[in-house]
Symmetry: C2
Subunit: 363 residues, 2 copies
DNA sequence: AAGCGTTACTGTACCGGTACAGAGCACCAC
DNA sequence: GTGGTGCTCTGTACCGGTACAGTAACGCTT
């Protein structure tokens, strides 16, 4: 009957004060009823909550609370690449999933920060959050700059470590080294590398270490070269862009159809490796009899392939959990005024030998 | 030398007022310098910004701004399932990617709302946001309830439409009908269905429409039955849980190894279809000569398979774009005080015939 | 009866911005 | 000289909470 319940548009906003007036207590008591139940008697608390319910009050306004408390209940995640790309990469989505689930346990939501737009909007500068994970970003990108200027609790993941900031990485150099050593041990001497690059097309490059690449890309290259140069082997290197997916196929063909076909191929990821296996089959080559292929990541795909891929396993879920644990530790330290952790952790990896690698063909 | 520049811990917080005092203008002018550049002279503005920079001021505090302005620059996305699961589903990740990219253009960030936790934390209730997309959630789940109570601008996606709320859906019923009709037209008379279920294991069910399922699952079932019952065909139905991935393999074997092996199988998704093809090959059956398989979604996987899948294509990216456009329209309407759109849109789908379906075997 | 620790509630002072309605002033036309 | 218009800049009143230091009442010891 009353307008207040029907004409929502004109209904004045219900705040703590509205409820306080109705119950006849102070605003502070109503706040306590919601946020600090031990501060008032159960009887009064139920009365307050009932009145709040009556008035259609949902709970303390999150923005107001964020301002007063200085915390928002959400942490950000910066992925400088277009999010569209990040989501099509199974390594990234697995990581995101693990992060989101770990945050859920801590009662935090995850805000994906889109890179600074053209119209002057900069989520990294303008969105409220308690802390932020920076995943595979250029350490000097403008978005990272903003986050640092804001002095937000920050944890870098799969990134070039920066002193004074906590980082969670994977021992990619060691993993790549093990992968390369595996092929060397199997007698391979002509070994090519198919890895990530930022050019438009797949192409051989002469100075792989001089190429712009992300942290993981550099570390893996270093690892492969560690083992190969120690064995006196100079690999040919093809760089393929991540997108479109066909670029890796093209890179694989480059490697397999030229004059000096290798007997072993080291790949930046299982997806690249799948392209090599695919291309090899299309050319009538047998894997691993004619050519051995080693991937990276131990993507679910790796076991679905025929033959299943030899690869380097990284525990992406552990990476996500650790990233969240580190960030919450920084959050807590800042709150308590204790020194914030700034460790640089490198998670172990493991070579998983499956059917796609075998002894080098005799001849 | 001065403590202020080195001992960050004790450094008093820099606010608009700090800058105002230093420049000798009002706090409002400093605010304008950042947020409404046309409200002051260029000369003064540069002086203000320089002073701000000197003091290490990054920009208006997002929480304070959110409270004062009543908007946060972020929209939420609710996925009631564990986010970990949502991220392993390529349909969901493609959608998320499209949403995130569309939001980026609008300068908005995307906050993933984890479902209400056990320790009393409820992101759907406690996180500040301007609006929210609700994707594949039970319409009566507690999290959705909170969002509704907050009267947040809300758009449902792939959900049972609710009057008074805008929805973006896909014409799954029509798509499934077309898929089923395709098999009927090819002469198939024994047709089984492998679809999503929530039980622990894969199993035949007698009353598929009576089973609990999500909106898409129900619509697709209705569509298949539309065409099949019109043709006088009663399909057998197997329900398989989404996780673990092997459950679909089990469901596929159930269908292919029994006494009344069908000549055609309709599947909830391309992933399920891939399991059927896989199982068929393992049993020495040829696709499509012995058995036709039709998927759903037109996952990238569909063309990678041998034979490539006949499937129903839905344009997930368009769905993401439309969801964002709808939400921003609701946001704008609320801001302008104009009536909020409450349309229920159903995006078209398209049957894509490829190699996995063919004429029913003669016998 | 004085002293003291609890429990239950309250008052005040913020948190750091923005909206909006002026105010002062220069410039211009008439 | 007067009134109107535009450009800058300012003052005030919020936005909706929370932290913290009270205060009052009550029971319990000594």
């Amino acid at each position: 009957m009353s307008n207040a319940t029907t004409l929502d548009q004109t209904m004045a906003r219900v705040t703590l004060q509205t409820i306080a007036d109705k119950v006849g207590v102070s605003r502070m008591t109503v706040s306590n009823a919601f946020s600090r139940p031990d501060q008032l008697s159960d009887e009064l608390r139920t009365r307050v909550l009932a009145a709040a319910d009556d008035l259609g009050y949902v709970g303390p306004d999150p923005s107001a609370r964020a301002l007063a408390r200085g915390s928002t209940g959400a942490v950000g995640m910066l992925l400088t690449d277009s999010l569209g790309e990040a989501f099509t990469d199974s390594v990234a989505t697995t990581f995101l999933a693990s992060v989101a689930d770990s945050l859920a346990e801590a009662g935090l939501a995850l805000t994906l920060l889109t890179p600074a737009g053209t119209q002057g909007n900069v989520p990294a500068r303008d969105v409220a959050m308690d802390g932020v994970l920076v995943y595979v970003c250029e350490p000097d990108s403008p978005d990272v700059e903003w986050l640092r200027k804001r002095r937000l609790p920050l944890v870098g993941v799969d990134q070039t470590p920066v002193l004074g900031t906590a980082h969670v990485n994977v021992d990619d150099r060691q993993g790549a080294r093990a992968a390369a050593q595996h092929l060397v041990d199997l007698g391979h001497r002509r070994i090519d590398i198919l890895t990530l690059g930022y050019a438009d097309h797949s192409a051989f490059v002469d100075e792989p270490l001089a190429e712009r690449n992300n942290f993981a890309g550099r570390q893996r290259m270093l690892g492969w070269l560690d083992a190969l140069t120690a064995a006196g082997i100079t690999p040919r290197v093809v760089l393929s862009p991540f997108r479109p997916a066909e670029a890796a196929d093209e890179g694989a063909r480059l490697i397999l159809t030229g004059p000096d076909r290798p007997t072993g191929v080291l790949c930046f990821s299982d997806v690249y490796a799948a392209s090599v296996v695919h291309a090899a089959h299309a050319l009538g080559l047998r894997v691993p009899d004619d050519i051995s292929v080693v991937g990276y990541d131990d993507n679910p795909l790796a076991t679905r392939l025929d033959p299943p891929l030899t690869t380097v396993r990284q525990d992406i879920e552990a990476k996500g959990r650790l990233a969240v644990a580190t960030l919450t530790a920084v959050l807590k330290a800042r709150q308590d005024g204790t020194p914030e952790p700034t460790d640089h952790v490198s998670l172990p990896v493991e070579l998983v030998v499956r059917g796609s690698s075998g002894p080098a063909p005799q001849r």
